[in-house]
């Protein structure tokens, strides 16, 4: 089309990248500053790193518990969703089930519904209805693991479906002719071939569960509180501990950054229900 001006493009993108990265960088700057320095002239650079905010956070028993809860809930949920989605996608792909395309579409409607709408029913169900004897799902890790399936399981199914569909059915047939049982077939043939897709699904569901806030804030009080909720607790109308808040935010951010580095190419496809593939 028109004459390319690479320098112009590069210059513009450097500027835009700075706009993208600056907020994150600033968060880090605040997190390594002592509280007294916050109210002076803002300085863009870090003179001396002050790690006390981090040692305070990591030394805080409650916050450590929240982090552990987050790790357990995200991991449990990611594994559960990936395994169930793998089974479901295999069933949808290989069996002639009546109305399966409707079921497939129905799963995604669970993800579309605004979480705020379901806060009240979830709260009531978790505190009063879903109970076995004295055991209630409210403020339990298992409750959160199951609850997060409402958004992560549809996501996992929609991300995995193309992978499973892409594995040639002839392989299944060959294995069946050779006398393999369904279980052997899944374990020995389908699973190894689906492994890359499974890994992406596992990682993205993990980070979505880790990032979740609203449901955790409503359906946990202490025992199963997650780190995102812990972060919100540091914002109070009177005297926010900015440095502590910033360092919790950085800690909350780290898994996302790692995930970003690993599966960066799949993020957009994941967030658009696979509508965009690169």
């Amino acid at each position: 089309m028109q004459k390319e001006r690479p320098l112009f493009s590069i210059g513009l993108w450097v500027l835009l990248s700075l706009l993208t990265l600056f907020p994150i960088y600033w968060l880090f700057v605040i997190s390594v500053k002592p509280a007294v320095d916050l109210f002076t002239t803002p300085s863009l650079f870090i003179d001396t790193a002050y790690w006390t905010n981090y040692t305070n956070v990591l030394g805080n028993e409650t916050l450590r518990r929240y982090m552990l809860n987050s790790v357990i809930i995200s991991s449990g949920n990611a594994v559960l969703c990936t395994v169930l989605a793998f089974m479901a996608c295999y069933a949808l792909s290989r069996y002639d089930l009546g109305g399966k395309e409707n079921i497939f579409f129905w799963t995604i409607t669970n993800r579309m519904a605004p979480a705020a709408v379901f806060l009240l029913p979830f709260f009531l169900l978790f505190t009063q209805v879903f109970a076995i004897g004295d055991f209630k799902l409210y403020d339990t890790r298992i409750g959160m693991i199951l609850l997060y399936c409402t958004f992560n399981l549809p996501f996992a199914i929609w991300t995995l479906r193309p992978t499973i569909d892409g594995i040639p059915k002839e392989l299944d047939e060959a294995a069946t002719v050779d006398g393999a049982s369904t279980w052997t077939l899944i374990r020995e043939v389908v699973f190894p071939l689906a492994r890359p897709g499974l890994a992406v699904t596992l990682i993205l569901t993990w980070v979505f569960a880790w990032n979740e806030f609203l449901l955790a804030a409503t359906l946990t009080s202490f025992n199963a509180r997650t780190i995102t909720t812990g972060l919100s607790e540091y914002v109070t109308t009177t005297g926010t501990e900015w440095g502590t808040m910033a360092s919790i935010a950085i800690i909350t951010l780290i898994p996302a950054l790692v995930v970003f580095a690993v599966v960066q190419r799949h993020i957009v496809a994941g967030l658009t229900f696979g509508a965009v593939k690169e």
Partner: protein
């Protein structure tokens, strides 16, 4: 060929979980919505009261205002994201060194937890410690105070949303642009069409489905924004940024007026579904018409 029983067995756990946590809450909230129920109020037991919760809702100024603010927020945020995202996607269509690298950086905000996004923007904009009010004051003499100025708070929530979600639009539209055939554009240039004409008569009609799909996905998310706005402004000042999700969470829910809260939840869900459906029709209808030709 093989028994379908195994297929249903493999699918069963998924269906059970999604039914328990998807369908049951839906019918439960619908049921509670037709009842008067406030465990800490004058009538602690559930009592059927017909449609009176819904009748009350029509005259609830707070609720209507929250809906209006939400629509305003969603409109400005999504509209800006589409415009900026399209321009950025066009920039990415050019060949220049380091394109992949810049695209990677551009993806970063998408994976950041909304609650962290809210914290970041709060740190940057809180008066007396934030860097943005500081420089706005030092360079332009503008006093920015999101704790008092409703407009500033509203604009800031929109800007935050743009920062967070424009990359999704950029990358979606980039994928659409990259998949377009080259010939119509070359032909139009030979015929001497201006850039604006090319955009209006060729590019836009061709990427219309992609734009609508993006609007659809973004609008659904913008309408249910809670975390980052709560973290940034807490819904304030006053109720200026108390969008509907926040309203349910922070105002309706803590009042323990469960019957009325359920009615609000049902109506919000209904409105969301209607908007979904309208967009879906806009999205699918033109394609279906094309197919029938």
């Amino acid at each position: 060929m093989r028994s379908n029983k195994v297929g249903w067995l493999l699918l069963a756990p998924t269906l059970v979980i999604l039914a328990t946590f998807g369908i049951v809450p839906f019918f439960y909230v619908l049921y509670v919505a037709f009842h008067q129920w406030n465990p800490f109020g004058a009538s602690p037991f559930m009592a059927f009261n017909g449609a009176s919760n819904f009748r009350r809702l029509v005259f609830d100024a707070e609720f209507l205002r929250a809906i209006w603010y939400t629509l305003k927020f969603a409109f400005f945020a999504v509209f800006s994201e589409i415009v900026i995202g399209y321009l950025l996607a066009q920039l990415f269509m050019r060949e220049f060194p380091g394109r992949g690298f810049f695209r990677t950086i551009h993806t970063l905000p998408l994976i950041v937890a909304p609650i962290v996004v809210g914290s970041v923007w709060r740190l940057m904009t809180t008066p007396s410690i934030g860097i943005i009010p500081y420089y706005l004051n030092a360079w332009f003499g503008y006093e920015m105070n999101i704790g008092r100025d409703a407009n500033a708070a509203f604009v800031l929530t929109v800007i935050m949303d743009i920062w967070h979600w424009t990359p999704l639009v950029t990358l979606t539209l980039l994928a659409a642009l990259a998949s377009l055939p080259k010939e119509p554009f070359e032909q139009a240039q030979i015929d001497g069409a201006s850039r604006l004409q090319i955009f209006w008569h060729i590019t836009l009609p061709m990427i219309r489905p992609a734009i609508l799909a993006t609007v659809f996905i973004r609008l659904m998310d913008a309408l249910r924004t809670v975390d980052e706005v709560w973290m940034l402004t807490g819904g304030g000042p006053g109720a200026a940024t108390r969008y509907i999700g926040l309203h349910i969470w922070k105002v309706v829910f803590p009042k323990t007026d469960y019957g009325y809260g359920s009615a609000i939840s049902v109506v919000v869900l209904y409105l969301t579904l209607v908007m979904c459906w309208l967009l879906y029709v806009a999205l699918v209808a033109p394609r279906a018409r094309k197919r029938s030709l």
